[in-house]
Amino acid sequence: MRLARPAVMSGGGQRRAEERVGGMLALPAMLFFGVFWLLPFLSACYLSFTRYDLAGTPEWVGLENYRRMLEDPGFWNSAQVTALYTAASVLPAIVLALAIAVPLARPGRLNGVLRGLIMIPAVMPLVATSVVWRIIYADGGPANTVLGLAGLGPVSWLTDERVAMWALVVMVTWKHLGLFVIILTAGLQGLPRDVYEAASLDGAGPVRAFFSITLPLLRRTLLFVLVIAVVGSMQAFIPAFLLTGGGPAGATEVLPYYMWSTAFSFERMGYASAMAMVLLAGLIVLSLVQFRFLRGGADD
């Protein structure tokens, strides 16, 4: 206990004060991330080598779960569905978002209002979104009405194996578009103006300026959007959960969904953990890209 505090603390006193207060402020976080992230992560690694049904104790089975995965058609189907779902819900959305963001990034009151409105789908809860899109995709719903105007027959959007995945992709593209647009507009607004002025003095048209100035300068923001989109899509199964239930015939059963059913419908915690490890391996590759890129931001 300190009796008198000097006007400016000595180096040692200052260090002790920082250690005490810093430790106190950080202690809850250390406990939390230790108990709810580090421990579960280590357990998932361990459980992936066991057979465990919640009721009993985990039983060591070595590589059995990983071996089973190789022969499990359900796993391979869900891995394929995930890859397709990720590619289809990320790439068109980013191209579309860029096409909207470039004009929308310009100043002006109308653009400001539009930037707010375009975010509405993104902040809407997924349950609300799925209620609406179930109506849109219903047999007599707006999607089929529009098709009918074009003289095309009604489609069973959510129950036809060939269509369900694309119906899902359209919904999530609609939902995420505003998010991507807003991140891209923020990036575009941060670009140096003088480069464009110099380019237009040199006689470069808007198309030329887009490809030779905007795209290269926006690379970091684009990469950021790409990474959050890919990592997000690889883990997303609530859209499928709410809209199609993974069906029809597994056509929309993405890997996290298959993992969820394995764990919580069939109580095969060990096998589900092994799948989690495989999913994590995929995510780590992408996260490494993300962190290299985020760290790059501190340097320049």
């Binding site: 207060v21 106190m24 849109i136 047999d139 919580f264």
Partner: protein, 267 residues
């Protein structure tokens, strides 16, 4: 040309919202059927539908639970992630390096990966069907610690140093000088966490079997699985669920964008 095209694009994007409002405004007994067809009946029933829904018993419970979970978790995250983020940025203390590695590692992990063991932990703690089972595993986010740390790194050193010279203790410096300056970051964190939790379906669905504990996403998704559910009321529920996040987003748009673009835009 873009003066016409952009508003048109946005209008098309908002069409599904229009569908939602139209269906939620259908008058009672207007013959909305399971196929989603609209017809019969006339008049504007939105307010009557909202009143009917809030009178139905279950919905107010879901709404209240959603408010408890979302604001509870957002406040806890602001307090604890805020404190840890500041400590990581401005104070030297034992274990700071380990905590930073833990936070960055957690950012790279996905909740999906640790879902099974976290469920086992909650199960063993006897927290199934409790609010703490839904709140505690989500009460801090690595994103939050990271966001506050990044922001705190930019605080002016002179202010903190001046307070130290005046003899203020480290905790007082944190509480009276740093916290007010950190407000934009903390507000951003509150908003993003509130929105995320308002939309959280998975974890409450796992932990809460008791309908009295269900938040809106669980309640609505469970209703949706029932055969022959009332589309009119369901859509009204969806609309009412969508309103709070949309209003928050418009009120705090600046903070929202700041949080989204953290790391994505060069300063």
């Amino acid at each position: 040309m873009t003066r016409v095209v952009l508003p048109l694009v946005v209008a098309i994007m908002l069409l599904p919202i229009g569908v939602m409002v139209v269906v939620a405004s259908a008058p009672a007994g207007s013959g909305l059927d399971g196929a989603g067809g609209l017809g019969g009946g006339s008049g504007f029933g939105l307010f009557a539908n909202i009143a009917e829904m809030f009178a139905s018993g279950d919905f107010p419970v879901y709404f209240r639970n959603s408010l408890i979970l979302s604001s509870g978790i957002a406040v806890l995250d602001v307090i604890f992630a805020g404190a840890a983020g500041y400590a990581l940025a401005r104070l030297r203390f034992p274990g700071s390096r380990a905590l930073f590695v833990l936070v960055v590692g957690t950012l790279a992990l996905s909740p999906t990966v640790v879902m099974v063991p976290v469920y086992v932990i909650v199960h063993q703690l006897g927290w199934i069907d409790t609010f703490q089972g839904m709140i505690v595993p989500s009460m801090m986010s690595a994103f939050g610690v990271f966001l506050v740390r990044q922001f705190a790194l930019g605080l002016p050193e002179e202010l903190l140093l001046a307070a130290r010279i005046d003899g203020a203790g480290e905790f007082r410096i944190f509480a009276t000088i740093a916290l007010p300056l950190l407000r934009p970051a903390l507000l951003t964190l509150f908003l993003l966490q509130f929105l995320a939790q308002w939309d959280n379906l998975l974890w409450p669905l796992l932990v809460a079997n008791d309908p009295a504990l269900w938040p809106l996403p669980v309640g609505i998704s469970q209703l949706q699985t029932q055969i022959g559910y009332d589309i009119r009321l369901m859509t009204t529920a969806a609309l009412v669920t969508a309103v709070p996040p949309i209003v928050l987003m418009f009120l705090l748009q600046r903070y929202y964008v700041a949080g989204l673009t953290l790391g994505g835009v060069k300063k």
